[in-house]
Each structure stands twice: as C-alpha cells, then as structure tokens.
C-alpha cells in the first residue's frame, strides 16, 4: 500500500538551463492535518536518494527513511504540523525523472532528460504546496541535498519560507565533494551497460552503480565510525576467487550497494548528482552572503556533524553566519556524531532534541 499522492506540474514545465517537461508530476506524502489558516505546513525536501515516504502512516505502515523524526509526539510532531515530504524532480520514486516515459517519444527520457538543477527541484516542489493551497510554510526542512533545495526555494519564494532547518548541507559543494561525485558518475558512465543513458530495464549498469554507491557510502560515514565498528575484522566465509571480499567493511559496502542498485535509476543518480555540483548560492546575487540577503528568513536552525567529510562542518558555519548576517535568528548546532554525513539518518539521540526545540519555538 502506498501513501503517495501526485501533483501535475504546469505543462510545459521549463528548466532553468533550457528544455522543458510536458505532463510531468511530483510525488509526495503528508502526515497530520492542514489547519484552517493553512499555516501549519512543514515541507521536507530530501537528500539525493530518499523518496517521499519519510515516515509510516495509516495508508502505508512501512517504516519511512526518517521514521523517528516525524509522527505524533516526535520532533516534527504531526499532531501539530501538516508535514509534506516531496520526491525530488528528476528522482525515480514517483516524480518524473529520466526513467519516466517521454510523451514525445513513448520511451524513457534517458539522456534526453533536460539538464536538471537544484532550482528546478525547488520550483517543482513548490507546485505541490500551491496545489494544496499553501502560500506560506511554517518551516522548510532540508538535509543534505535537501538543504540546497530548501535554500533555492527560500530564494524563489522568500515570503513563503520564513523558517529554515538546514542539516548537513552547504551553500555549494567544495572541490572534494565535486571530486567524489565526479568519480561516482564516471563509474556509472564507464559501465558498458549504461550505453550513453539508453539502457534496457533488464540490463542496468549495475556494476557501475555498485561502485558509485560504495564510493558514496564511504563518504557518507566516517573513518572513526568504521574503525570502531569494523576495525580489521574479517568475514567468516570467504570465497575462493582472488580478491573476493575478506574484511567486514567490504561486506558492509557490498550490502549497502546491493540494496541500492535494484531500487534507484542510474540516470536519476547522474542527473541529481550533477545538480548538486552545479548548485551555487553565490549565483544568486554575486556572493553567498548576498544570496542570504535575498531570502527573508526570520529563524533558522543549522545542524552539522564534526565527522562529516562530504558537507564539512565549516560549510554549516558558513550557512549559519550568512543567515545571521541577513538578520535571521540562527541556532547553530555542531554534533559530535560518529556517523559522518549520514548521522541525521541514524543518530536520533543527538538530532532529535535540537529539532524538537526548533519546532517548539515555532509553535
């Protein structure tokens, strides 16, 4: 059972770098009830891979990717807030993306999908809110890539986004993150089965995807965590083929990759990954600081993790400082979680309290 709902995008829906989609749609889920003033809506925009199923509900009791964070009495309390989580434009979890059928050709867009930017993802997310009759959000919540989307939306609709919760995100990627994502895309593109983006559904570039995902997971966690969790521990059964997996950390990467490659479209991965590289707040006003001046943020919570190597803590400080200079009341929280960039998905003991406090203040 799915709790996914859909909103049709205006057709054509133009993209920032050119091109447009016809008949596109955005998938979303909601929790809680929109109040009569339509003033209690909280938008969640996601990282690269999750879909809109952030938490369980009556319609879909399966666990969501942020189950501990959203629900009655939870830090984002669905008794109080009307929570909307949107699957990003370009993804493959219900929203239109490269794997969707191009009405012009009758086959998947594949390489014909327009160049996607974070700004397009934000504009498409807004269409969901517009369809729900929401003109102003109580808060926008963006972890990782979602933090970029949240900032893009706060630029496009300043008056609709007075309150921001940015988690392990950045105003733009720095060189190390650019390099990591460039290698991930190279791994997918080098797989002969990628075939320039025109792969058959039964012949996906799974080897490239496996490698790309492992490289991702390497940068989503932290060396410290792995040292404690795995050290040099071996797996019990080791195959006989040369270079077979031998250490537990290799099995961990493999199992993460296996779960992913069957459930995510390789082209979606490429398009979203590049969108993150392209995003640069400084394009909106000349500098990062000027971009924050163009928003109308009144209150913000910025959370970062000391062990994050992909969106390092200094980038969280940069966002907090930029928002503060633009006049927002900003709480900046640096967490010592061991799990690096992914800590917001697992370290609820540390992330829960500051997020709960943020929403209590808003309420």
């Amino acid at each position: 059972m799915s709790a996914l709902r859909f909103v049709d995008l205006p057709s054509p829906f133009p993209f920032r770098r050119g091109g447009a989609l016809h008949g596109a749609r955005i998938a979303y889920e909601t929790w809680g009830t929109l109040d009569a003033a339509r003033a209690n809506a909280v938008l969640i925009v996601t990282g690269l891979s999750p879909g809109a199923h952030a938490a369980s509900s009556r319609e879909d009791p399966s666990l969501g990717w942020w189950e501990e964070m959203i629900g009655p009495g939870k830090p984002i309390d669905s008794n109080r807030w009307f929570v909307v989580c949107v699957n990003s434009l370009g993804s493959c979890k219900g929203s239109t993306g490269p794997a969707s059928i191009d009405p012009a050709s009758g086959r998947p867009y594949g390489p014909d999908f327009p160049d996607l930017t974070i700004e397009d993802i934000a504009a498409a997310a807004w269409e969901v809110l517009a369809a729900l009759g929401i003109e102003r959000l109580a808060a926008v919540v963006g972890p990782s890539m979602g933090g970029m989307t949240a900032q893009a939306l706060a630029l496009q609709k300043p008056e609709a986004c007075p309150n921001l919760l940015l988690i392990s995100s950045a105003p733009h990627a720095e060189a190390f993150a650019l390099a990591v994502r460039s290698l991930q895309r190279e791994a997918i593109r080098l797989d002969p089965d990628w075939n320039g983006g025109r792969y058959a559904p039964d012949r996906l570039p799974i080897h490239g995807m496996r490698l790309a995902r492992k490289l991702g997971v390497m940068t989503y966690r932290s060396p410290e965590e792995w040292k404690q969790r795995f050290g040099r521990a071996r797996i019990e059964y080791r195959g006989c083929a040369p270079f077979d997996r031998e250490f537990q950390v290799e099995s961990y990467l493999e199992s993460h990759a296996q779960r992913f490659i069957g459930s995510f479209d390789p082209n979606s991965y490429l398009w979203l990954s590049r969108a993150m590289d392209w995003f640069d707040l400084a394009e909106h006003g000349g500098t990062v600081e000027a971009a924050y001046q163009r928003m109308a943020v009144r209150r913000a919570l910025v959370i970062g993790v000391e062990t994050d190597i992909l969106f390092p803590l200094e980038q969280q400080e940069e966002m907090a400082e930029g928002l503060r200079l633009a006049g927002a009341a900003v709480d900046f929280v640096a967490l010592p979680s061991l799990q690096g960039h992914d800590a917001f998905l697992v370290d609820f003991r540390r992330f829960g309290p500051p997020i709960a406090r943020f929403f209590r203040i808003l309420g």
Copy 2:
C-alpha cells in the same frame, strides 16, 4: 639511460602465503659510496607506485621521485651515505611482478602470480643488501607502504635495522583505508579488459585503472588543499558531451590518472594494494606492541601529517609509541602540511629539516 641494477633472487624464492618464483630479480639504484666497513648504507623502500629511481645520478640524470631528499648535501646526503632504493617485488619497474614472464609458461604471470605480502617485499629487498655485502643498515627509510616494508624487514632482520625512519605509514590499515583500496581493486576488476588478469598488452583495463587512480589521488591529498587550490573553479574549455569534465578538480584528477595508466601494470596495482591490506604488525607476536618488542630498533623518527586521511596521524602516534615502549629513542613529528598523505613527495620545506636532523644524529 637507466641507472637500474638488478639482483637475482634465490630460485625458488618462496612466498609467505605459498607459491614461489623462479628466476626472479629485484631492481635497485644507488647513490653515494659504500664505505670500507659497509656501515653507511641507507635503504629506501617505497610506496605503492614509485620505482627505484628516487633521484637523479650521473648514469640517469632524469629527476627522481624524491629528488629533493637524496643527493650531495641533501637531507639524505649521498656524500655521507650509500643510499639504496629498491623497487618492490611485485611491482613493474624492473623487479619481477605479475607482468613479468613466467618461465614455466612463457607468458606473463598475470593471475598466476603468487599471493604477495609486505613480508615478501621486505625479504626480497634484503637480497639486494646481501648481494652488496651489507649486513647492517645505517637506516631504513619507508614512506607510506614503504613504512610497512621497513617494519617487516626490522622484524625479519632485527640486528640489521637499528634505525628506522617511518613516514606517513601504519602498523596496519584501518577500515577506511581497506575500503578505499577495495574499491580501487573493484574498479580495475570490473573493467572487462581486465579479463581476470589476462589482458593483452595493447588492451589494458585503462578505464578501471583511471578510476582506481583517481580514487587514490582523492585520498592521497586533502580536502583542505583542494579547497584552496581549486575551490569551484571551472576549466576554460568544456566539451559538449553530457557529464564532461567541468571543474578544475576533475581535470586535475584526469591528468594524474592519465600519467599513471600508461606506466603501471594493473595486476601489479592489485597485488601490491592487497598486500597493504593484509599487512598487520600484530600478526608478529600477537599485538602491535609485541611486534615492536621483536625488533631491535634503537632510534626512530616517525613523521605524520595532520591532513592525511589514508594513514591518519593517530597511526603515526601508534608506531611512535610502540617503538618507544620497545626501548627506542623516538622522535615523533606531526606536520601541518596541506597535501595529506602525499605531503612527503611535495612539502620538502617541512619534511627536509626533521629528516636531515635524523641523519645528522646517526652520522
């Protein structure tokens, strides 16, 4: 013109994990003059990729990989020391490795090359010294993987290795380094041209090698260095193909990889990479501390770099502490170089003085 010399290994030369080589040899170069007492020899064992040409000489005036460190008046002063640099067993720069011809079959060893360990590399390096009539080294110098080889040799020939210079190395790899190298090997093995290790000389698995090398370079430097060097700077000319290189950091990785893939045997890379993963000082005596007790080190200099993510500083501290507990006089130097693991190859301003001081004390 080459200054390479060769020493034949005993035939058969047995490997620690089984198997043996017949008619194998080790390539090496020397600088300076062995004194009458044969007491001034300094052995340099290398990281994964360099050959024995560490510095220029009359016979080979081309620049070596440690040119600024070795020579008359330099930190490792060839006016005083007889410096020997050995190409690792299993490499492809003159020493026998998987690309060498297997006398049993008349074709390259390829996948038939025996499982290689750091201990085998150390034992083979010793044969060069034995052939030169050297029974005791003034010092053993090991950067990166070479530091593992140096420690293995100090276990095999304790009395021959009273003085160690360990640079950006480790007593064993931790989980993050294991993961990085596992992915590098996976990239090579996934290239269809790898062909189980039986590739044609004109059809090397260059795509896999390119990706593996880029991933390596990512972990050899530091995010801080790249932020300062490249930031988000674009390259001037960008091709029209989707996902072409666009940022300078991508071009930097590409040029590093291009230089490498034409000059290093893919199987050598796999065998040496796995040897590093397998190496564990704790196998010699039960614990890392016990292994140092089995050496007979009197003086050691351990240098590490604060920004090294592959051989992190805490591992340098572990080596220094282990040697100290075993009774050696240890200098531990933590350098703030920006260039991460590779700093010893480029930051001579910081590395030169402590290394020069170490050799002055020995002399």
